[in-house]
């Protein structure tokens, strides 16, 4: 390996991260000059948009960058666009939330941009320490964001819990890296291909990495923090948590799979069990929730479980081939499509929750949602669409997401895991439908009927329209995105 000066192309490869960071720093500096919310929001939006757009630039320089530390391939570009768009939508949605709650906006946006940059690094990393930096960038910004409503007890609780448990998990991850390095002599993923897969140290290291990442994506039994953190964090931040960091961490997991055969050999049963546990933990937990925000938090856990089903399918496939012979979407594609559909829906759903919550996020229970279809038909209709997508009903993106995961599982002969997933979908149907029932089939409580009519600001309506149309579009015409995700060279390091 030649550690000379990085080439110009390398900088193009990390252009999105650079732009996000530069705009983050810029926002922090501008904060001392102006308090103009509109200006600061515009800057943040511009930063997120430019960063996301610059993936087009990095797309022209595929291949490993910075001597193999990062990898620019379709896979990483997909995740860059995904987390970038999530950031864009969250910034749009948060604008009115911040002014309503009278919170500083510059720091908030800066933190979102830093977190996004971290997720970008995570998605592109091909070396474990680089991945660690990405993980830390996104995590630390997330901790602060979770506690952004300083004066609320719940928000502080959320931040503290997230921080303590999060750093604990990070320690696992780091220790795992150390052990892997100890056994293979390298932290570069693509050089671990030849590693002896019977090495006990390597196995242990990989297990610790799995635990560390499992925490980040809220996999049972490491999911306990999720409902509290999601509930306490300001709702736009919850939208970011549900969509962004999860995508980043799953991206890294996938890349480890694609490049380190040793991981796939030992993780099959781990994934099988984790998937089953996580699905049940999320769905059973959600059954008894009356707080919509907590309900959606539990549903995120359940969805992490569904994604893990596809991971279990990946582990049965990568060892031989990517199973193109079955003419189907390989499990990788299933995961990527799922994350896309899931991100769209979660951002939309939490945006609605954030708007309906009122000034202090007071109105978040099912009773507050009763009769919403009469008071705000647009919100009720879009939220129903999102819930149906989470439930996996046709003509929504969530349907195809779930369908591909199902298919991947059955492709790999994981019939029983597919059946468990089916059982869980039915449990899920109950609580998602409960929210729809409240909105459409119950009458407004007297308090909410008497309250002033709800009006959503334009920015929020744009976010909702984008996520709703996206959900429908990918539910009806998934071909375009599938063509992209089905590329043979999806992951650069894939043999």
């Amino acid at each position: 390996m030649n550690f000379s000066t990085p080439s110009t192309a390398d900088f193009y490869r990390v252009m999105p991260e650079l732009i996000w960071c530069i705009f983050g720093v810029l926002l922090m500096l501008l904060q001392s000059l102006t308090k103009n919310r509109a200006f600061l929001s515009t800057m943040a939006f511009l930063g997120a948009a430019l960063g996301t757009a610059s993936t087009l630039l990095s797309a022209r320089f595929p291949g490993p960058g910075f001597f193999g530390l990062i990898q620019t391939d379709t896979f990483s570009l997909f995740f860059h666009v995904l987390v970038g768009c999530v950031a864009l939508l969250v910034i749009l949605a948060a604008d009115s939330y911040l002014s309503r709650a009278n919170l500083e906006s510059a720091e908030f946006f800066a933190l979102i941009l830093f977190a996004t940059a971290g997720m970008g690094v995570l998605a592109g990393a091909q070396e474990l320490l680089t991945a660690f930096i990405g993980l830390e960038m996104s995590s630390i910004a997330s901790y602060v964001l979770a506690g952004y409503r300083r004066d609320t007890l719940k928000s502080s609780e959320s931040a503290l819990k997230y921080f303590l448990l999060g750093s604990f998990a990070t320690a696992f991850f780091l220790y795992g890296i150390a052990l892997v390095y100890g056994s293979t002599g390298t932290t570069l993923l693509d050089q671990m291909g030849a590693a002896d897969s019977n090495n006990g140290l390597l196995k242990l290291g990989l297990a610790l990495i799995l635990i560390g990442l499992g925490f980040k994506v809220a996999v049972a039994p490491f999911q306990v923090w999720t409902p509290d953190v999601y509930e306490g964090a300001p709702t736009p931040v919850t939208a970011l948590f549900a969509a962004g960091p999860k995508a980043g961490a799953f991206a890294l997991l996938l890349r480890i799979f694609a490049t380190v055969p040793a991981a796939t050999h030992y993780w099959f049963w781990a994934f099988w069990i984790l998937a089953a546990l996580t699905m049940f933990a999320g769905n059973l937990g959600a059954l008894v929730q009356t707080n919509v925000k907590r309900l959606l938090a539990y549903s995120s856990i359940a969805h992490a479980g569904y994604i893990l089903v596809a991971f279990a399918a990946v582990t049965t496939m990568t060892s031989s081939e990517n199973s193109p012979s079955l003419g189907g979407v390989p499990a990788y594609t299933a995961i990527l499509f799922y994350l896309l559909s899931y991100a769209l829906v979660k951002v939309g759903a939490f945006t609605i929750v954030s708007q309906l919550g009122g000034k202090d996020e007071k109105y978040v229970t099912l009773d507050d949602y009763a009769g919403l279809s009469q008071r705000h038909p647009f919100a009720a209709a879009t939220l129903s669409l999102f819930l149906l997508s989470l439930l996996g009903l046709p003509v929504t993106a969530g349907f195809f997401g779930k369908f591909y995961v199902f298919k991947a599982a059955i492709n790999s002969n994981l019939i029983w895991l597919a059946v468990l997933m089916a059982v869980n979908s039915i449990i899920g149907a109950y609580y998602y439908f409960r929210v729809i029932v409240a909105m459409y089939m119950r009458d407004s409580s007297e308090e909410s009927a008497a309250a002033a009519p709800l009006a959503f600001p334009l920015t929020v309506n744009i976010v909702l329209a984008v996520s709703a149309l996206g959900t429908l579009y990918f539910g009806l015409f998934p071909n375009q995105i599938l063509r992209l995700l089905l590329e043979k060279t999806l992951i650069g390091g894939l043999k």
Binding site: F268, T316, L326, G327, G328, V329, T333, L388, L393, P394, V395, F399, F403, F406, K407, I410, N411, N413, L414, I415, A418, V419, A422, S425, I426, A429, Y430, F433, R434, V437, Y440, M441, R442, P478, N479, L482, R483, L486
Partner: protein, 529 residues
Amino acid sequence: MIAAGNHLLTVLIFFPALGALALMILRADDHDWIRRMALVVATFEFLLSLLLIPAVPFGSSGYRLELNIPWIISPPIHYHLGVDGLSVFLVILTTFLTPVSILASWNSVHLRAKEFFVMMLMLEVGVVGVFLSLDLFLFFLFWEIMLIPMAFLIGIWGHERRIYAAIKFVLYTMAGSILMLVGILWLYNATGTFDLAEIQRALQTGSLVLPAQTELLLFLAFFLAFAIKVPLFPLHTWLPDAHVEAPTAGSVILAGVLLKMGTYGMMRFCLPLFPIASRKAAPYVAVFAIIGIIYGALVAMVQPNLKKLVAYSSVSHLGFVVLGIFSFSVIGMQGAIYQMLAHGISTGALFLLVGMLYDRRHTFEIKQYGGLATPMPHLSGFFLFAVLSSLGLPMLNGFVGEYLILLGTYTSHFGLTGGNGWKYAAWASTGVILSACYLLWSYQRVFYGDVTVEKNRSLPDASARERFILATMSVVILWMGIGSAFLTHRTAAATDTIRNQMERPGWYEGSKPASGNGTIISLERPGNR
């Protein structure tokens, strides 16, 4: 790239959706225009669907008006539609009952009327789509889509326990359909296609041979979804709740068409795709069907609630349909198709009539009625007609189906051996007697005798609109009873086709599929892990 350029079926599926969109533009409080528009759309849809009849001539087998366009690249999902003798009348039944129920809801739906009619039209989209889809994936898609408008119809415009009933309906149906999805995906993995005809071909030429156990599991995955929908005893518990709580229009569509999606599915998918498992399961299925026939009738007999009585009579009547299908005889299956249509019309009529009584008195309790023939002679006349048709009086529609089913059952062999069909037929025929008991008895309690409740004395008789609806239904009942050949000649070829599709290479050598020349795919995981 269009394989066969006929878009009638597409228009037929999506025209109501267009109509629903148009309805959404109207002002929410403009009730007159909303219901007029809905009625016009639904009626036009009905007229359009009549064009299917010349497209499916006498004795024609195979699909007509086929349309096959690739929709999704991976996995290859096609927008594949077609109509044959099995589906043609079910589609027409749907498009007929929709305007009828819209007309029946003319004055009884005031709350959120626009959404109500939008939901009715969306429901029609889903149901027609189910009957016309020839791609398993597309079929599943419509099957699921149909769920939401129906749940909304029950949940928003239903009676007291509507929310409970709506959730129960959704959960039951989803539980079945998600298993079906697993089955569909399994079939796809084995054949590489979702296309029904291609899978059928693969199974019949022997290029795909299902081991006995696998076939049984797949059969169950599909069958359970359909059995819940039918509903077959003991999976029927959602039905009385859904029916009693649903608004009249919802009940009519639910009983008239939605239940038929289950029996349709059995004929279209279970039998042709998994014939060996079907034959193995037949004795058990038949027993459950007969239990359903008798149990439904007995429960109906003791029902104090008139609407629940009609609901349980559906359980009983649909038991006949399932029995007919699993007799595997041409006559039995013909009877099953006929009974599906007849039940749709006569039970639809009964639900309409019960709804009209409810509009007047806001109760379903039989106790609250009595002697109604005096204040409302017209309505009671139509009611009697519907009751007679439902209990299977010769010359009316109910008779043909039940007779054919019993005949088919009598002559068939359940299981692979033994001529024991007569036992099944004997038990089932008690259902015919019981249905006469509960229907006539309830009719007597509601309409004959003295007026027991003072309020009933001044009830208005059927209005012109109601008389029009009921007269239309009665004409259809009579026509189906007399002109049954018009229907059976068209369904005959379809039943023959199903029976041919049930043939497998090596069928006559025994229950086991031929071995050796096909890929055997088993459910077990490969032993490498």
